[in-house]
Symmetry: C2
Subunit: 554 residues, 2 copies
């Protein structure tokens, strides 16, 4: 194949496509160069005038940059399947994504990872899969994926789309020499291993880096990120739908650091992708915050490709994949067209979802309203704050104003009784119930409500629809977005899902919910690694003490 590229580069064969008289980005020298960019069989073959092609694009007064690479993303957080996800992000210039199927793996185990590996083979978006390292995420919750040991993960390494080991969240396990963790680190010693070490500093950070882990996308503070760079961890600057780090980290990205800084979205919903963008939003935002434009464009592609050993990706040079973004304006990253291996994304007929049998993944029995009754009297109560995944903790009367009921119901077929507790922050006038099958990281059913009848109705609706988002009032379903693929994803397209999310938000607001993003906030209320108080299917979890506690306060 490459031999044909050489012939085309020499002019012996006509090229497929030429961007004439364009200004293209040189990711190696951080320069903008005037030239013709010629493409043949999906690869760039020439940068000089004199070649012929079947198709020409007028590149005058426009700028050609390498297609963007998302350094770390959970596609499940878009609620979309990989087939629909790519339709949402390709027009935003993201032509490569390095994904971690952590959510589906916690629901389904190995088949969840294999689903993404298989999807990656059929994807136009160049999808690379990091193999999920933390299934289960903790031992204080029940997942459906069981324990994915090193022995189970290692054979997947040979899949052509498998890249390395995904975010190693078990920092204590790395530092203390936990055998299960180290079996994985050893099995992936010859591959990139992603880190996940929020706020880690000093000796602990040195120790974590000494393990061979080579990136982190969890920095929220500038000094933290600088220390990580110094200790050899590439820093992926994240701007998700909940976690937003660009403002704090923009000063990190300079010409000097650009080879070791990249961009990622981690968790980003289709509404934000549609309204704000994807990696383009990070490029735009970085430049607006004073990052040198050339450093931002290098970080958006080449630096990440180089980190993960994706040779032939992330630059405009002969032999490189013709993943290209034609910009009307480079400062504002205003996209005119996107090209994937030389094909115009807007002209591609991207395939619909493959037929995949997910089977039933919501295996809970419908509860009765009385099963959802929590203890009465003085109770430990989770305090939700808008836009934060860290919670507060209070001791309140169970029937005080603003206190809502919260239940997590195990849904992986173990038939555990519901765990019932209390929460504040959804509003003093909140009525009905809001339920979801997306609850990090084990994705049991979680429901918040003003009364147990509406909560039971909402849970029943989710069990019927095999997962999703549900809102109920007066024992009626007032809004429903089914997510039947693992209880996490829908076969619907991004625009429909975005519209649905807007509608559901409006219904929640009508029912008195004061949170802007009730489903995103619910999704983190069962995550037992983020302080201070969380509710898993096993009960109320005190994150600081790292143990389960009684709901009733002494």
């Amino acid at each position: 194949m490459r031999q044909r590229l050489v012939q085309a580069a020499l002019g012996g064969i006509d090229c497929d496509l030429i961007f004439r008289n364009t200004t293209f980005f040189d990711a190696f020298s951080l320069r903008w160069v005037q030239g013709d960019v010629a493409v043949f069989q999906g690869a760039i073959v020439g940068l000089e005038p004199g070649l012929k092609a079947r198709r020409e694009i007028d590149g005058r007064k426009k700028f050609l940059v390498p297609g963007f690479i998302d350094a770390h993303v959970h596609i499940e957080s878009s609620l979309l399947t990989p087939a629909e996800f790519q339709k949402a992000v390709l027009p935003k210039g993201t032509t490569t994504a390095i994904c971690d199927p952590h959510e589906l793996a916690n629901v389904q185990g190995l088949p969840g990872i294999e689903y993404f590996l298989k999807a990656a083979l059929k994807s136009t978006l160049d999808l690379r899969v990091m193999l999920s390292s933390c299934v289960p995420a903790t031992s204080f919750e029940t997942n459906g994926g069981g324990h994915l040991s090193a022995t189970k993960l290692a054979p997947l390494k040979k899949h052509p789309k498998a890249l390395g080991l995904a975010e190693m969240m078990n920092v204590p396990g790395v530092l203390s020499g936990d055998k299960k963790v180290w079996d994985k680190l050893k099995a992936f010693a010859d591959r990139p291993v992603d880190g996940h070490c929020p706020l880690l500093r000093g000796k602990e950070l040195s120790a974590y880096a000494a393990s061979g882990i080579s990136s982190c996308h969890e920095s929220t503070q500038l000094g933290e990120a600088q220390e990580k760079l110094m200790k050899g961890l590439a820093v992926w600057v994240r701007e998700g739908s909940v976690a937003k780090d660009l403002a704090a980290l923009a000063p990190l990205l300079t010409v000097a650091t650009s080879p070791v800084v990249g961009f990622c979205t981690d968790d980003r919903n289709p509404l934000d992708i549609a309204r704000e963008g994807h990696i383009d939003y990070l490029v735009r935002g970085a430049i607006a915050r004073g990052v040198p434009m050339e450093a931002a464009y290098r970080a958006s592609a080449w630096s990440v490709a180089r980190h993960y050993g994706l040779s032939g990706k992330g630059a405009i040079a002969p032999g490189y994949d013709a993943d290209l973004v034609l910009l009307e304006d480079r400062e504002s990253c205003a996209i005119e067209s996107v090209w994937c291996k030389g094909k115009s994304v807007s002209e591609l007929e991207l395939p619909s979802n493959q037929t995949v049998r997910f089977g039933r993944t919501v295996k809970a029995t419908k509860p009765e309203a009385q099963d959802l009754e929590g203890p009465k009297g003085r109770v430990h109560t989770i305090g939700v704050e808008p836009g934060k995944i860290i919670t507060q903790r209070f001791v309140l009367n169970h029937d005080a104003a603003g206190v809502a009921r919260l239940t997590v119901l195990e849904r992986h077929g173990k038939n555990r009784p519901p765990a019932n507790g209390y929460v504040t922050g959804f509003g003093t006038r909140f009525r009905g119930a809001i339920a979801s099958s997306v609850g990090h990281d084990s994705h049991n059913l979680i429901v918040v409500g003003s009364n147990t009848d509406d909560m039971a109705t909402a849970l029943g609706a989710l069990i019927d629809s095999q997962g999703g988002y549900a809102v109920t009032l007066d024992r009626q379903v007032t809004a429903l977005l089914p997510l039947p693929f693992g209880g996490l994803m829908t076969a619907l397209d991004a625009a429909t899902v975005a519209r649905k999310l807007l509608e559901m938000g409006a219904v929640c607001k009508q029912q008195g919910c004061v949170l802007e993003e009730p489903f995103l906030q619910l999704a983190f209320l069962s995550l037992p690694v983020i302080p201070e108080l969380k509710l898993t299917d096993r009960g109320l979890f005190d994150v600081n003490k790292f143990q389960l506690i009684e709901v009733r306060a002494e």
Copy 2:
């Protein structure tokens, strides 16, 4: 092993070594950082105060930088074995070298490459081997290594010290789709492939880069080097004993380009290593020429390590190899001590040469004086210029003033008759003969002389010593440096060889030779890929016409 590093980083085990209160180089952010650099079991484990170690080095007012990496070197050009080569370059701060056994491979074939792979396993210097791509170098000369096809080279890939495919000099073969060349490119598509494309520009350079080749160390002009960077070829700036490119290329190396620029020596003799230095000489010279110091230090290690996928090399960070250079002064790259995987190089007892049976590689029969008589009358004459490997061409009378006799004698056992010609440039008063078994790239015997008797004596001496450098006068050997290892290398140490080279130079001068480096110049007179006129064992070669021609002019 890494698990122990983590324990040491946390302070749970005492470290082996700490550089206290030093200023170390952060290759990721191009900063200088104050700190303690702690080493355990050959790796860096900490950058902060508070750790203990069995040994402490006072780092105050000193600078710690990563050990240098030579991106491309033919160790044979040092005349030293790998065991002695490391003793010469380690004290100069070079702790990793990426070598290409091109010379020995042309003499011996696969066993020549295997010799270096085996030596690399025992070397303290971290020696990585690129597998020689051009054996034979051309079809206009006789080598001893035969043809190293893709089928022969590919099995060596799995050797732990084998890195990729060495400099692909056959540019026309790459561009024209030569099957033997492409078989090699395909066999090494998953590994780094080094380029070699002096002066290549425009479409031809694009085509060469599109083949998947990813570096070049042959740039001599700034514009050429800039174009190579833009086209995705990493540029290794070379400063050898003959080819010296730093002055021309220094402006290439900036903070922006530093991730894709490195340093190499290619061919450097022990005299220059002793007098000027090795990669440290390039660092020093680059800074003196205005290269930002931090860009120079990044290029001296990290950029090359990253290019070749040597993870854990080239930076001072936890988990990285403790290959370190402690500097008294960073601007002048003044070295105080060098550390290889945490061991002081000056304290190491480096092993002597392994016992290797090279066998007889100089298999020529001693010629009689009359065998070395060339044609008489008007003759095509090679014009040597001091310090250049490109030659001129003249038509002169064979007995004109300043015309010396030149003979190349095939030595690989094929018993070809000597090829006799003429050369100018050694001086009008030059007497006797100078002979060498180092003659790129096939390393046949080459001798220049004022008369056939002294030439025959010199060739006889080389056949007796199984290769080397010889000088004769009045049928007596006046100076001799045996190079019995493949006719290329000696078991002697660097200092002895350097002294020998000085002595031999003095003898040549006494005998009227006006060239500063007669042996280096001789070594390139048989290389048929450098214009304009060369002499191989097959006869006089017109490089421009790319064919053999008669010595006698019409």
